[in-house]
C-alpha cells in the first residue's frame, strides 16, 4: 500500500481558496436570518465550499483534483467556517447582551448573570462548531467534485 502521492501532499496549493471558502461559508452562516438557509442540509456551508472549489479550478485550468483532496479542502474550509460562524455568533450575542443590560438597568442580578453566561457559552460553541462544519464541509467537497466538476477529477 502506497502512502499519499506527491500531488496529494502538495495540499498547500489550496490554501488561499480554503480561506475564501471558510470566509464565504462562515460569514454567511454567522449572519442572523441568512443562516436559516443552513437548515437545508448545511446549504450555506456546502455552497461556500463548492464555490471556493470552483474558483480554485478556474484559477488552475491544468490542475486535476483527487477526491481525497476535495474532502480535505472541504474539511479545512468547513472547520474555518465553523470557527468564523461561531465568532460572529459570539460577538452578536455579546452585543445583544450588553444592549439588553443597558436597557434593563434595574434587572435582577440573576437575569444579568444569565445573559453573561449565555454570551460566554458562545466561546465554547466555536470548537464544536468547527467539527460539525468540517464534517459537512468534507461531504460538500467530495459531493461538489463528484457532481459538478467530474471532468476535473484526478483518478
Amino acid at each position: 500500500m502506497e502512502p499519499a502521492t506527491t500531488q496529494d501532499q502538495a495540499f498547500g496549493r489550496f490554501g488561499k481558496y480554503i480561506l475564501i471558502g471558510a470566509l464565504i461559508s462562515g460569514v454567511a452562516s454567522g449572519i442572523p436570518l441568512i443562516n436559516l438557509l443552513n437548515c437545508c442540509f448545511c446549504l450555506l456551508n456546502m455552497a461556500g465550499i463548492i464555490l471556493a472549489l470552483s474558483l480554485y479550478l478556474k484559477s488552475a485550468p491544468g490542475d486535476m483534483v483527487s477526491m481525497g483532496e476535495a474532502a480535505g479542502f472541504g474539511a479545512a474550509a468547513g472547520a474555518g467556517a465553523g470557527v468564523l460562524a461561531g465568532l460572529i455568533g459570539f460577538l452578536t450575542s455579546r452585543l445583544v447582551a450588553s444592549a439588553l443590560a443597558s436597557v434593563l438597568t434595574n434587572a435582577p442580578a440573576q437575569l444579568k448573570s444569565q445573559l453573561a453566561a449565555s454570551s460566554a457559552l458562545g466561546l465554547l460553541v466555536i470548537p464544536v462548531n468547527a467539527v460539525l462544519y468540517a464534517a459537512f464541509g468534507a461531504l460538500g467537497g467530495v459531493l461538489g467534485m463528484a457532481l459538478f466538476f467530474k471532468d476535473r477529477k484526478r483518478g
Binding site: D8, C39, M67, G68, A71, L121, V128, L143
Partner: protein, 144 residues
C-alpha cells in the same frame, strides 16, 4: 510518513459517522452547548422535532433522519455502481424529501414525523454513500 489513502477514508467515515451519531446519542439528554451548536444548522421548531425521554432532540425530525442516514452511510460499504451513477442516486434520494417539503410547506397536509424522518434518512444515507463510493475508488487506486 504520510497517512495511506484508506486511513483518510476511515477518518472521513469516523467524522461523518460521529456527526451522525451525536444527536441520537444525546437523545433524552439536555445540553445547552450542543443546542446552540445544532441551532445554527437546524430551525429546531418544537412542533417539528421529536421529543425522546421528555427532552426535545437537538435537531428537528427531518434533520434527525439525515443524521441517522449519515451515520448508517458511514458504516456501510459503498460500491462502484454508486460512484458511476452519482447524479442519478442524488436525484433519487433528494426527490422524496423535496416532495415532502413541498406538500408540507404548501399546506397540502400537516407536518408528519415519520415522513420527515424517512425522507431525511434517505437523503443522508444516499449522500454519504455517494461520497464514500468516490473516496473508496480513490483509496483503491493506491492499493492496485
Amino acid at each position: 510518513m504520510g497517512w495511506t489513502r484508506p486511513r483518510w477514508v476511515l477518518a472521513f467515515r469516523i467524522l461523518l459517522g460521529g456527526t451522525g451519531l451525536l444527536p441520537w446519542l444525546m437523545a433524552g439528554h439536555r445540553s445547552v452547548l450542543l443546542e446552540a451548536v445544532f441551532g445554527s444548522t437546524c430551525h429546531r421548531m418544537p412542533e417539528r422535532s421529536l421529543v425522546l425521554g421528555g427532552v426535545q432532540m437537538l435537531v428537528c425530525s427531518r434533520c434527525a433522519g439525515i443524521y441517522l442516514g449519515l451515520l448508517m452511510g458511514a458504516l456501510m460499504p459503498a460500491g462502484r455502481w454508486v460512484a458511476q451513477h452519482s447524479r442519478l442516486v442524488v436525484a433519487a434520494v433528494a426527490m422524496p424529501m423535496l416532495l415532502d417539503v413541498a406538500t408540507q410547506d404548501l399546506g397540502f397536509r400537516p407536518s408528519w414525523h415519520p415522513a420527515r424522518l424517512a425522507t431525511g434518512w434517505l437523503l443522508g444515507l444516499g449522500l454519504a454513500l455517494v461520497a464514500l463510493a468516490h473516496l473508496r475508488l480513490w483509496a483503491d487506486e493506491s492499493i492496485r
